[in-house]
């Protein structure tokens, strides 16, 4: 009887499964086990990275809020409210409207009556209570001018302030330098935050790279054997990158959750008090900030480990 060569079904798939199993074992499982075992020596790296990410997350939310406020101020800066006297004559009002509409620096003129001004005020956070108790209506009628350029606002405000239809006590909404001050504040906050973050990032990366050094030292025999028997470079280095990613990921989860909680709390406080505590900040933004913090943590941990491995692991 002739012999028959038996071949396993789908040998390629079987090999792939073996490769996946071995990769998971030697790369991921061993890394996770070592990470848990070396948690004591990893703690400083975990701590410094958590602080870095937490501050980054909070600073990120703060910066976003400031940016939103500046964007709003920028939009408002091109709008000039010209407040009208309560006792202004209709003829004076009409003349003013004609003059403004014919001004080449003005794009659009919109009339806002006292009643409309009250309605708009009622929609602003913190003002509904005030509008409810205010009687008679304290808000003046106005012409809202969309100005062609922010630079023209000052000149326009000056040209209308002595008009007989304009309120002599508060002629316009123009406040010289307010927008520039906000811009300046945003720049300084950004620079200061960046410097602080760079400093913290340097500390976190250094501490993490050193913790990788400790991990390499604790496994030097195993690494030496792996290198000498001819294990591939990624097999030798990979577990340390995974360990770094775990450190960064753990720090990212903690910092991301705190950022999320802080963001949602601020949104909640604002909603409860009808106050604009953080302009532009929503629950969605807070979730996004938390996710970004987590991803940055994973990236920072892996990167720091790579740095440590390159520096301390000889091949």
């Amino acid at each position: 009887m002739g012999g028959q060569v038996l071949r396993p079904a789908f040998p390629g798939r079987r090999t792939l499964l073996v490769v996946i199993k071995n990769t998971v074992r030697y790369l991921l499982r061993d890394a996770a086990r070592n990470w848990v075992r070396n948690l004591g020596s990893t703690a400083p790296a975990l701590g410094s990275m958590t602080i870095l990410l937490l501050l980054s997350g909070i600073a990120g939310l703060g910066w976003y809020t400031l940016r939103s406020a500046t964007a709003r101020a920028s939009a408002d800066a091109a709008v000039l409210h010209v407040y009208l006297r309560d006792d202004a004559k209709q003829a004076d009002v009409d003349t003013l409207r004609q003059n403004l509409a014919g001004n080449p620096r003005v794009v659009r003129v919109t009339y806002v009556s006292k009643a409309d001004a009250l309605k708009k005020a009622a929609r602003r956070p913190g003002l509904p209570d005030l509008t409810a108790v205010a009687d008679p209506n304290p808000f003046p009628a106005s012409f809202d001018l969309m100005v062609r350029s922010v630079q023209d606002v000052g000149g326009l405000a000056g040209s209308v302030q002595h008009d007989p239809a304009v309120d002599p006590l508060l002629p316009t909404s123009y406040e010289p330098g307010a927008y520039q001050r906000l811009q300046q504040l945003l720049t300084w906050v950004g620079v200061a935050g960046l410097v602080l973050m760079l400093l913290l990032a340097f500390v976190a990366v250094t501490v993490t790279a050193n913790s990788v050094r400790a991990a390499i030292h604790s496994r030097r025999d195993e690494l030496m054997i792996m290198q000498l028997v001819g294990a591939r470079r990624w097999m030798v280095r990979g577990p340390f990158l995974v360990e770094g990613a775990l450190t960064g990921g753990a720090a990212g989860i903690i910092a991301g959750l705190v950022t999320l909680i802080v963001g949602v709390s601020v949104v909640g406080i604002g909603a409860a008090n009808f106050a604009q505590v953080a302009p532009g900040l929503t629950t969605g933004v807070a979730i996004l900030a938390g996710a970004v913090v987590l991803l940055v943590g994973v990236g920072l941990g892996s990167g720091s480990s790579l740095l440590g491995v390159r520096r301390h692991l000889e091949t």
Binding site: V18, I225, V229, G230, R233, M235
Partner: protein, 237 residues
């Protein structure tokens, strides 16, 4: 067929200190050779060059057709899979059994090897070194000679064309050392080139194999097999 290992005018310095100077020799497939010399003669440096742990300062090192002297660090692993290594202190992982130590060496170099295949091949290697019945013993449950046999099994399991051993009998008594050397000699009979650095004059004389003598970094003598009499460095020191 070209030799398996070739050294051409190889020199290696560590700063001002010259560890090897103008070393030339070749080793054929299946050949067994001793590398002898006093402490600091450059034996370990020469073995590190074979395994591409270090690069030569000058000269060429060829192993199985691969130019080790110019090999990029990204391809070193490829070379090392062709060279089995045995150390004086065995370098076994204490948390793994004998068979696991051998299969670990197999699987980290080739992820396509399944657990069962790795275990079977490791068991075969342990059988070949006479330790098949101690496969599940941990290193601290084995004698020095047995641990060295496990290390040899680990080095041989991937079936490399070359084996280097740095003082493999340094921690063993004479009888055990003799057994280990006999085992290495048997390995060469199956076609693996074996280069053994040793201080053990007694064994070198008894085995009567080729002897390369290094003194102060220079290859001062290359005695062919069967003609080993007085060892130059031993007489000198």
């Amino acid at each position: 067929m070209s030799p398996l290992l070739e050294f051409y005018g190889v020199a290696r310095s560590f700063g001002e200190r010259v560890a090897l100077d103008d070393v030339n020799f070749a080793l054929e497939r299946g050949e067994f050779a001793f590398l002898v010399g006093p402490t600091g003669a450059g034996k370990t440096t020469l073995l590190k060059l074979v395994n591409r742990e270090i690069r030569p300062t000058a000269g060429e090192v060829w192993i199985d057709g691969v130019a080790a002297h110019t090999l990029k660090s990204t391809r070193v692993a490829e070379l090392r899979r062709r060279v089995g290594v045995v150390f004086q202190d065995f370098k076994l992982l204490p948390r793994l059994t004998a068979v696991e130590n051998v299969s670990f060496g197999l699987q980290v170099t080739d992820l396509r090897i399944s657990d069962q295949e790795a275990r079977d091949r490791a068991q075969d290697a342990l059988d070949a070194v006479g330790l098949g019945d101690r496969a599940d013993a941990f290193p601290d449950e084995l004698s020095g000679g047995q641990q060295q046999r496990v290390a040899i099994a680990r080095a041989l399991a991937p079936q490399p064309p070359m084996l280097i051993a740095d003082e493999p009998t340094g921690n063993l008594d004479l009888e055990t050392a003799w057994q280990v050397m006999t085992l290495l000699q048997d390995v060469s009979r199956f076609g693996t080139a074996v280069l053994v650095a040793t201080h053990n004059v007694e064994i070198v004389k008894r085995l009567q194999r080729r002897v390369l003598t290094l003194v102060e970094g220079r290859l001062v003598r290359d005695q062919p097999a069967g003609r080993v009499g007085r060892l130059a460095w031993a007489v000198k020191s």
